[in-house]
């Protein structure tokens, strides 16, 4: 695709948007997985919130 004399600026713009947004989405996905793993570990040790003790869930 020929984007003329300013092609480098155009590709750089789209590349930085793609990389930064992909990085943000990946960070959020990994953080969510990490927090869920911590809750699962606490649950496995029998630690529950007071509101969940009657229902047997975290």
């Amino acid at each position: 695709m020929d984007l003329g004399p300013h092609a480098a600026f155009i590709w750089a713009s789209y590349a930085v948007v793609a990389l930064v947004l992909a990085g943000l989405a990946t960070w959020l996905a990994l953080d969510g997985r990490h927090q869920q793993r911590l809750i699962d570990e606490l649950d496995a040790r029998g630690i529950r919130r007071r509101s969940d003790r009657g229902r047997g869930q975290t």
């Binding site: 695709m1 984007l3 003329g4 004399p5 300013h6 092609a7 600026f9 155009i10 750089a12 713009s13 789209y14 930085v16 948007v17 930064v20 947004l21 943000l24 989405a25 959020l28 996905a29 953080d31 969510g32 927090q35 869920q36 911590l38 809750i39 606490l42 040790r45 630690i47 529950r48 919130r49 007071r50 975290t58």
Partner: protein, 253 residues
């Protein structure tokens, strides 16, 4: 119960987790479809008669700029919800929106610089529009830094909310900064009357913007879910410590 508003029904974090877990995949999918369609439309749109291909940077720069402002409006509205209504999810929303808004503001600044060099001959000029958006970026960083510098979570939430509300003054400043001897162009879409862009260029921009808005919504929902989980972990660890100290006290007696 039937008179409950949506925000009241979502005030329960457990209910919010269940609902957001169901809609998150759909919003993420919608964002992917709209961005893919927007990219296709952007790269097949006719060339701008003055800027040629370089105007294609507009399709990422303008949605990023809109979301930088929308993100801050969300932080301010959530801060208002915390300070006035003590809504349980308001602080979660404000905390989740700040880094995402900062990312979109950063993208607005970087793509603006990459557009400015070929068009204006410089990556950066101390122009009212550019400078006010840079201040918005620092404001986002200030919100994040203030929250992380205070250990007491409730105090951090209240102080961050006050700063978030005060900072809303930047939104009209940014909106009207192009009228103050600025080299940045006037608004073309969000202006009174009809947009000043030909539909062949306007439609790809609107589709890209819709895709980026959906992506912002998906990222914000995910960040809110993570924050709720983080607070649950903290509450469970506290319960564990209290349970252990209670047992120790019983043994001592």
């Amino acid at each position: 119960m039937a008179m409950q508003t949506l925000t009241q029904r979502l005030a329960n974090p457990t209910r919010f987790m269940a609902l957001s877990g169901r809609i998150l995949p759909w919003i993420s999918g919608l964002a992917c479809v709209l961005i893919a369609a927007g990219l296709y439309m952007a790269f097949t749109a006719p060339l701008d008669y003055q800027q040629g291909h370089a105007a294609k940077i507009m399709y990422v720069h303008v949605p990023a700029a809109w979301l930088a402002l929308l993100g801050y409006a969300l932080v301010a509205a959530s801060s208002f919800g915390l300070l006035v209504f003590r809504h349980p999810l308001a602080d979660v929303s404000a905390k989740a929106a700040a880094p995402i808004g900062a990312v979109f503001t950063f993208l607005c600044l970087v793509t603006g610089a990459l557009w400015g060099k070929p068009m204006w001959g410089a990556f950066w000029v101390w122009d009212p529009r550019l400078t006010s958006v840079l201040i918005l970026f620092f404001l986002y960083l200030g919100l994040i830094a203030l929250r992380s510098s205070i250990e007491n979570e409730s105090l951090a939430a209240n102080l961050t909310a006050i700063l978030g509300l005060v900072g809303i003054v930047m939104l009209p400043v940014i909106r009207f900064s192009v009228d103050w001897n600025s080299i940045h162009q006037q608004p073309s879409v969000s202006r009174f009357g009809m947009p000043a862009i030909h539909p062949s260029i306007l439609w790809p921009l609107l589709v890209m913007a819709a895709g980026m808005f959906a992506l912002f919504a998906a990222l914000h929902l995910k960040a809110m879910r993570n924050e709720i989980l983080r607070r649950r972990v903290k509450a469970l660890r506290l319960a564990e410590v209290q349970s252990a100290s209670g047992l120790a006290q019983q043994a001592a007696e």
